[in-house]
Structures are given as structure tokens and as C-alpha cells.
């Protein structure tokens, strides 16, 4: 295997193989930052900021979903979403000495899908939400009635708890890998690299495909505000 622009291929280098490209990492950590900001702005009635943060997250999420289809291999859903058999087989391997997967493992895949689905549901409800005074509303609320907008807002408020539960579970799992399996998932999500992981040569970063995703995300965020 040869060196490429996207980083060291395979497991040859000391830094480890690239498992998360920078766009996946930026999506992950921006989401981490935005969720408390979204919570804070909603709690304090700073709805202009809540809309801005929410639309930013929507753009990022649309990009990530697109990247799950058109991104580099480890970001693609088809590469890591597996059936119950693969999950059971993985569970049997979940003990020390533990060898991390080259991307998402079959169990972690469930966490990815659940979190992305929950974010999608939460953002969709927020787009249509209307406050109790009929004054503040999501950018698509004009398409629904006051009652429907109120139902969307109530779902939006309730569903944040589901999102929180999934986040707590996600963090608990990451802690379990660190403590019980001596595997640092946080570092990998920061550097993108995993020592000892064997990945197919990711090749150069697919800039054209990335730009298509970025345009898609910006277009969607613009469209809902028209």
C-alpha cells in the first residue's frame, strides 16, 4: 500500500490507520457543542439563537446522512450497519484483549443509527414547532395549523429526553470501552486514527463528493427559511 493524501493506509504507520475522516469528526464534535447550546437557548427563551443553532445542526446532519451514502468507506452506513447475527458474533468478541474494529463495530452501529435518527426526529419536529403564544415558531411552522404546531412543540420538548437518554447511553458505552476494554474511542474521534486498525486504503479525500454534500446541506437550510 502507498501513502496517500488522505493519510496513512493500513496499519503500517505509528499513528495508526485513518478511520474517521475530518468531516465526520467535525460533525461529531460540532454536534456535541451545539446540543447544550440548543438546550440553553430554548430554556432561556433565546429563540433567535435556538433557530440559528438548530438550522446549523440541520445542515450538519443532512451532510452526515449524505456522507453515510456517498462518503469515505468508514462513514458509509452500508459498511457498518449489520444484522443481529453480526451483532451477536461481535458481543462474543467484546472482551479483553480487545481489538477495535477498523470503523464502527456492529454494536456501535446501533448507537450511530439511533442517535442520527433521534436528531432527525428532533430537528424535524422543531421545524414545525409553535410556542404557546403563537409568536415564536420553527421555519416551516407556517405550513401547519396552530394545534399541529403545538403538538410538534410538545413532541420536540418531550423527545429531547429521549435524545438525552441515548447520549447518556452513548457516553456510558464509550466509558465501558475505555475502562473494561482499554480502548480509547474519544482519542480516535479527535485524531481520526486508530492504532492497529486495518482499513482499506481510503485513497485521497473525495473533495468533489464532499462539496456536493456541502451544497446540499446549505441548500436545504436555505430552502426551509424561504
Amino acid at each position: 500500500m502507498t501513502e496517500t493524501a488522505a493519510g496513512a493506509p493500513g496499519d503500517g504507520s505509528a499513528a495508526g490507520a485513518l478511520v474517521w475522516d475530518w468531516s465526520v469528526r467535525v460533525f461529531h464534535w460540532t454536534t456535541v457543542a451545539l446540543i447544550p447550546m440548543l438546550w440553553w437557548s430554548a430554556e432561556n427563551g433565546a429563540m433567535d439563537w435556538h433557530r440559528r443553532f438548530g438550522l446549523t445542526l440541520m445542515g450538519l446532519l443532512i451532510f452526515r446522512l449524505y456522507w453515510g451514502v456517498a462518503g469515505i468507506n468508514t462513514a458509509r452506513f452500508a459498511s457498518f450497519v449489520k444484522g443481529p447475527k453480526a451483532i451477536t458474533a461481535y458481543l462474543a468478541r467484546m472482551k479483553r484483549p480487545y481489538t477495535p474494529a477498523a470503523g464502527h463495530n456492529p454494536l456501535g452501529a446501533l448507537s450511530v443509527i439511533a442517535l442520527l435518527a433521534a436528531l432527525t426526529a428532533q430537528i424535524t419536529a422543531g421545524l414545525f414547532a409553535v410556542d404557546v403564544d403563537g409568536i415564536e415558531s420553527g421555519p416551516l411552522a407556517s405550513l401547519v395549523s396552530f394545534k399541529q404546531g403545538r403538538a410538534a412543540a410538545e413532541f420536540h420538548e418531550f423527545f429531547f429526553n429521549v435524545l438525552l437518554a441515548l447520549i447518556v447511553l452513548h457516553i456510558a458505552a464509550v466509558a465501558y470501552y475505555f475502562i473494561a476494554l482499554k480502548t480509547n474511542l474519544v482519542r480516535t474521534m479527535i485524531t481520526g486514527r486508530r492504532k492497529g486498525a486495518v482499513t482499506a486504503n481510503p485513497g485521497p479525500f473525495p473533495l468533489t463528493r464532499f462539496l456536493i454534500g456541502a451544497v446540499l446541506a446549505v441548500a436545504a437550510v436555505t430552502l426551509v427559511q424561504l
Binding site: 448507537s111 403564544d133 395549523s145 429521549v162
Partner: protein, 173 residues
């Protein structure tokens, strides 16, 4: 480790079940009404009917507010829609004070988002209801002139009264 997988399923399942429950338990839900709710008010009608009536009227006002808000946000506001909505708000506004007889307090076991503070601080409540009435009248006047800027300002002022009252006298939701 089978825990995350199972917990995930359980959390999701419990979450949706909880939401289904919450969605059915609202003010107009099928909950059995308490003894207090079937009491007849001096002005006629039961406590439950009054709670339902004000809930629907408040929803009407909310609907009208949303219409005005939607129109103001759009590039080309539909003035007829704004006029109709502003008139409806102004029609309801003078009655708000009458929708809250003491028998309908949650302190008596009535299922309502109205807070008992309404009857603990009646002068404050009456004052804020009067302010709302004035603001709604001004919004209606502005709406009938068709001056979008004036409508925007009056809309903000009226909305501020909704919020002020809800902050102190309505259950947070």
C-alpha cells in the same frame, strides 16, 4: 456485554410509550373528571365546560396569532388574513377575565394548565388581562389600516402581554 443493546431497545420503547401516554393525558383527554369538574357554575355550565371553552378560545387566539406571525414573516403579507385574525383576537380579548371563575382552579383538583396564582393574585391577573385587551384593540385598529409596520409593532406589544400572563399564570409547557 449485552447491556447497551438491550438498554437501547428498552429506552426507545419506554420513551415512545411514555409519549403516547402523555399525548392522551392532556387537558381535553379522556381522563375521568373529578367531582369539582362536574359542579355547575353560578353563570351556568359546568366547571369542565368552562375549562374546555377557555381552552378552545385560547387556541383560537393562538391560531390567529400564528396567522398574523406567518403573514408578517412572509414577503407579501395577506392583509385580509391579518385583518380577520386581529378582529378575532380583539373579539375574544375582553372576555379573558371571565374565563377564570374561582371554581376552575387547579387547587380544587381541576385538570387545567391555569395556575392557582390567578386566584391568589387576582388584582395582578385582572390588570394583565386589561392590558391584553387594550393591546388587542390597538392591534385590531392597526390591522384595519393595513399599515404593515404598525401591525408589526402592535403584534409585538400584544404578544408580549400573552407571554407576560403565561409566564406568571399558566403552567409551563
Amino acid at each position: 456485554m449485552t447491556v447497551p443493546y438491550r438498554t437501547l431497545g428498552k429506552t426507545l420503547g419506554a420513551g415512545f410509550a411514555l409519549f403516547a401516554l402523555a399525548a392522551c393525558g392532556g387537558e381535553n383527554g379522556a381522563s375521568v373528571s373529578s367531582e369539582q369538574e362536574s359542579k355547575v357554575l353560578p353563570g351556568g355550565g359546568t366547571v369542565k365546560e368552562m375549562v374546555e371553552k377557555r381552552h378552545e378560545a385560547m387556541e383560537d387566539i393562538g391560531d390567529s396569532f400564528k396567522t398574523i406571525s406567518d403573514q408578517l414573516k412572509s414577503g407579501s403579507p395577506d392583509l385580509e388574513a391579518i385583518k380577520g385574525s386581529a378582529a378575532l383576537i380583539a373579539e375574544h380579548a375582553p372576555n379573558v377575565g371571565d374565563w377564570f371563575p374561582a371554581e376552575t382552579s387547579p387547587a380544587l383538583g381541576v385538570d387545567t394548565d391555569a395556575l392557582a396564582t390567578i386566584w391568589e393574585r387576582p388584582e395582578e391577573f385582572a390588570a394583565i388581562a386589561a392590558k391584553f385587551e387594550t393591546a388587542a384593540g390597538e392591534l385590531n385598529t392597526a390591522a384595519q389600516t393595513g399599515d404593515v409596520e404598525a401591525i408589526g409593532a402592535a403584534f409585538k406589544a400584544t404578544g408580549g402581554q400573552c407571554k407576560a400572563c403565561h409566564d406568571d399564570f399558566r403552567e409551563d409547557d
